[in-house]
Amino acid sequence: MKNFIEVTELKKVFGSGEDEVHAFGPATININSGEFVSVLGPSGCGKSTLMLMVAGLLDSTSGKVEFEKKLVNGPKTDIGIMFQDNTLVPWRTVKGNIELQLELRGLNLKDYQEQINNILKSVNLDDFADRFPNELSGGMQQRAAFCQAMIHDPKIILLDEPLGKLDAMTREKIRADFQKLWMVKKPTVIFVTHSIEEAVQLSNRVILITPRPGKIDREIKIDLPYPRDLNVKRSPKFAEYVNSIQEVFHKYGVI
């Protein structure tokens, strides 16, 4: 479906008077269903703010967000969302934390045991299912949080720097797995990241945000075949996309 998510003149200003911070916008973004869109921008430009407004978890100052022409005016529950700081609770194991998502949604845990095992295996955490979050490294916690956000098989996925704390190799592997999953199930994805390469590798479209207050500098359609494996990543076209994005941020003096 075209224009599945419509973000129109969306703007956020925190505080008022002296403490006023213009965090984001106004910006207009349209996303088709099944599309993989990355949001790329310097730190503090309002990416997380944008994501929370799209999810209905933060009120906008002006403008609107619509899903299938329906206005978002409260938390959207038919989504999978991963926040910048992880939402693992310390009193549950890795598995227990994944089940928390299901419990809160009133889903039957028995129906999901196999999925839980599979998703843990896919991020190499199957040996740590019964460990508590404080027994894991930062990167492992992030992988566990990724499983927690994805276990209910959402059709709309919002991820805020989900792979930020991972080492290069694990990052590469989870990207590939996630791409595979996206190719099969075709969820609509909004993916916030700092990594230009990651954005180019995964997305149909990359949205470049200016420094705060974040506005849209430009959108770049990535015309590369999926799956984007090593061969695609080594292609001159891939490098061209990465370079052109680097140039934009160079212009702003952020790299």
Binding site: K76, T77, N86, V89, R105, G106, E135
Partner: protein, 259 residues
């Protein structure tokens, strides 16, 4: 293993310290020629105290009843009000500042009034224990139920879970560690409240005993009474600490690892 050795070692240090302390006490009395009606030696306290053992045990029971009853009532009221205030913006703007301002008054100052209103029996003592325990519990509970991280709040909102489910799955367990800070503080206050209440007006209990024998120039028996009070206080505190270990083991182990 290393940790275990360290633990045993530090335990021994403490025991040695106590032995040294009591030895010093025992032998400095003849050494400095301290009269026994000022400060008796530990051996004399044990000797004279054991002659009065029946009374001491009975009075310990009396004080324990006042303390435990008051503590439990304070626990129920404190957590109840804590939750109510955390979830109601009206109460947060009325009761909460009221409690904070009362917290500044020394509650024990009310003790003579309660004794004069309610007499010498059990009730005024329980009320005083409730009073000294309630505030640390309620204020910590309010803090506990209001300090959920922003991400967790957003997380449960995005699942569409009911308030009740959210409460038991997230808010309550997240609040327990901070609640126990209040429970432990109150456990220390509880015996203090009961003892002072007994000083002011009673005909039984360890506080009553201590004030009577002190009046009779028997510091040895007063120390025996203090010993039983200490045991009572430690038992209550130990029980609360044990409950903390049982209810929130994840919190204890987290603290251990962070060391």
């Amino acid at each position: 293993m290393k940790k275990f050795i360290k633990w045993v070692f530090s335990g021994w240090m403490l025991i040695l310290f106590f032995i040294g302390f009591f030895l010093f006490w025992e032998y400095s009395i003849p050494l400095f020629d301290i009269p026994r009606y000022i400060l008796p030696s530990p051996s004399e306290i044990v000797l004279k105290g054991s002659a009065d053992l029946d009374k001491l045990i009975y009075y310990t029971g009396v004080t324990a009843l006042e303390t435990v009853l008051g503590y439990i009532i304070a626990l129920i009221l404190g957590v109840g009000f804590g939750i109510a205030i955390s979830f109601s913006s009206i109460l947060r703007r009325t009761l909460y500042p009221f409690f904070v301002s009362i917290e500044m008054t020394p509650k024990i100052a009310f003790a003579p009034l309660f004794i004069s209103w309610f007499g010498f029996g059990l009730m005024p003592k329980v009320i005083i224990v409730v009073l000294v325990c309630f505030f640390p519990i309620v204020l910590n509970a309010i803090l506990a139920f209001n300090s959920l991280s922003n991400e967790l709040t957003l997380f449960y909102q995005s699942t569409g879970a009911s308030r009740l489910k959210t409460f038991f799955s997230i808010r309550l367990p997240a609040a327990l560690p901070q609640c126990f800070v209040g429970f432990k503080y109150a456990a220390i206050n509880a015996t203090v409240g009961a003892t002072i209440a007994e000083f002011i007006g009673s005909d039984k209990g360890l506080g009553f005993y201590i004030s009577i024998v002190t009046g009779n120039m028997r510091p040895d028996l007063a120390f025996a009474g203090i010993f039983f009070l200490t045991v009572l206080g430690l038992t209550i505190f130990g029980f609360v600490t044990m409950m903390e270990k049982i209810l929130i083991p994840w919190h204890i182990s987290m603290k251990r690892i962070n060391k």
